[in-house]
Amino acid sequence: MPPLLAVRNVAKRYGAVQALIDASLEVDAGETLALIGANGSGKSTLSKVINGVVAPERGQLLLGGRSVHFDSPHAAKDAGISTVFQELSLVPQMTVAENIWLTREPLRRSGMIDRRTERRRTEDLLSLFAGTLRADLTPDTPVAALLPDERQIVEILKAISVNPRLLILDEATASLDSRQVQRLFELIGQWKAQGTAIIFISHRMAEIEQIADRYSVLRNGQTVGAGSMKEATANDLVTLMAPETAGGAVERRRLSSDILATRRIVLQIDDLRTSVLRGVSMQVREGELLGIGGLKGQGQRDLLLAIFGGTPWSGRITLDGKPVHFTHPRQAMNHGVALVPGDRAGEGLLSIRSILENLLVPSWRNYGFPLQMQRARRDASAIAARLDLKMAGLDAPVSSLSGGNAQKVVIGKWLLRNPRILLLDDPTKGVDIATKAEFYRLLTRLCEEGTTVILYSSDDEELIGLSDRVIVMHDGRISSELAGASLTTANLVAASLGVASGDAP
């Protein structure tokens, strides 16, 4: 008998980024498949191919042995594939019941929505998680009033309410507490017994070991291994997930700890707390390139934002031996700190303005009154030339640039101010390989000139290749620090997943 779902040799490219090269998986009715891989290995893209959000360029989807094409999430849903999304898809203004039955409301013969049936069915669903939810959570509670874990559960109930043949859980446990996770696992057991197939995507190795029957590992968009969980250990999986240290694109000579120790401490952080961070302490030295690793959303963004004065924080930050408390990015900027934010279009660029203006936004003050436009233009040209910016001209809108070139503009606006500390939030995301290599050379040169760089990257290879030292963050804290010989891809992946680093090969 053919498997319920078979994915064969799927490929997908987003602009310059090849998200999937050759991904395959099979899942049978009544079985749980763990889809695992490091950051950026293509897990989310593959799940989006399966649920019809993304159309693959090559490859095949076989449902019960028959080739299928989903041109929308709706088509996949009609075929019995339901997904619990990582980015929540609920409407905050609507109630729990309205959200779950949205577009599938039970109707009375008159064509009006049958609220009583809708409420009863919602109560049945909520009872699945009874005991792990607040008692006053009813079908009529607006979603806006729910906590993140409760929203996640509503999301799960919405996905299961269609009685799917295949349920995809994409990081669905990330915001649940342990009781809720255990209840979910019991339910998964029941659903399996009823013949539902489940694809479970998680970064938590312990959960994968507990719930999965089989695994399929993605690495850089390719399926590199699959098998039964009974015959695999956590370390086997980590080894599969960790990319071989090709290192071709990234070449930077690491500063040894001896050399680093002679350098001045530029930035010292003690017990830094924000709404996300739960006590972070670290120090960075002049000319050092400090990497920040870990799974996505573990507080890396908040750490960089707090240093830059972009989010309220408590604790102590010392810059060049003097305590500082930046409450606005302007203050950080005037102390020589610069931030390249993670959301390029939303936080880094003024999309409708010209390249010239984007480069000069932080620097207008330096051009007097009236503004010396010729000097400003000369400076912007110089930076554009230094970064080898491919553009029609300085007056072209920044929205006309490719992803890599747009990112150069964000970096360029700070280089114009010669920052002493450069903070980067996943700067090479969505950037083509050639431009990435240019970035690596640029960062290397900046460090040689004495700039201190703190780099968060979702690309482990990049972190390993560039950093003198990597701190790994987990749940708002630094969970481990890798340097020297222990700074390997395998250790980084293991540390990110919470597997003790000593055990990894």
Binding site: R330, P341, L350, R353, E357, V361, P370, L371
Partner: protein, 320 residues
Amino acid sequence: MKRLTISPPLAAVLLAIVLFLLSGFLPNGFGGNLDVATAQAINIVRLSVFLGIIAAGQTLVIISGGEGIDLSTGAVVTLTAILTYTIVNGRNEQVLPALLAVLVVGGLIGLVNGAGIAFLAISPLVMTLGMAGVVSGLILVITHGNVSGAVAPIMTQLIARPVLLGIPGAILIWAVFAALMWLLLERTAFGRRLFAIGANRTTARLSGINVTGMVIATYALSGMLAGLGGFLVVGNTGVVHIRIGDPFLFPSIAAVAVGGTLLTGGKGSYFGTMAGALVLTLITSLLTTMQMQESVRRMVLGATLLTMIAIYGRQRGFRQ
């Protein structure tokens, strides 16, 4: 093939010129008489000055983005016109104190607008609409509906009469004012930051711009410019009444839009607004000359606004 694109301010100016030339063929138009045509043209420009200056503050507020709009403009114009009228009371030496007073009062009202929008996160529409109500009520309370005073001879002389080569003072004032507005928007850090916060406030903040301060300053400036507008309006008409500013509110927004300034912020120019003020004033006076009713005038103005904005929208759509 290179597509012909025309910048919105230029389109508005061309529209104004075409309309003006066409108006020559009206029964009581200037026909072929160049002197009459010049006189009429000067008169149209003179009439546009007041809308043009009142719409300057609106331009700044709309460029600043964040759904920026100043609906208190009309009420502030009324209040400051009345203030000017009573403070001056026919005396030349009181003109400068009156000007100072209206700038301060307009600025303070704008400051409160800006503070409400920036600190209390009230939407600009609601905040300035509420402020318009408060100011209108205040005017009624203070004046009880009748205002006594007079403009000074020097005001009439400088604003309403020809000053240089037969050009009315108001037009000269507008020319200087336009140069200052250009300087403010294009050649000061404030102006560049204004466009930045209009384009993307998060990016602006993360680029070190004090967005809160900018928003407050912009609304304060808008209030001050409305105050200047009130001063000039009363200087031109010589009389005041308690609704004198109201007819300027809708056109002040329309002039900005017709001038091609993005209503979502981040892009625009004062020259566009000037051209918009010309177009709107020209259409109004043409229709008045043709003895059209108020209702028809409104419909034509509204339709013009929709047409121009639709054309600009299409142009942008094509380019992307």
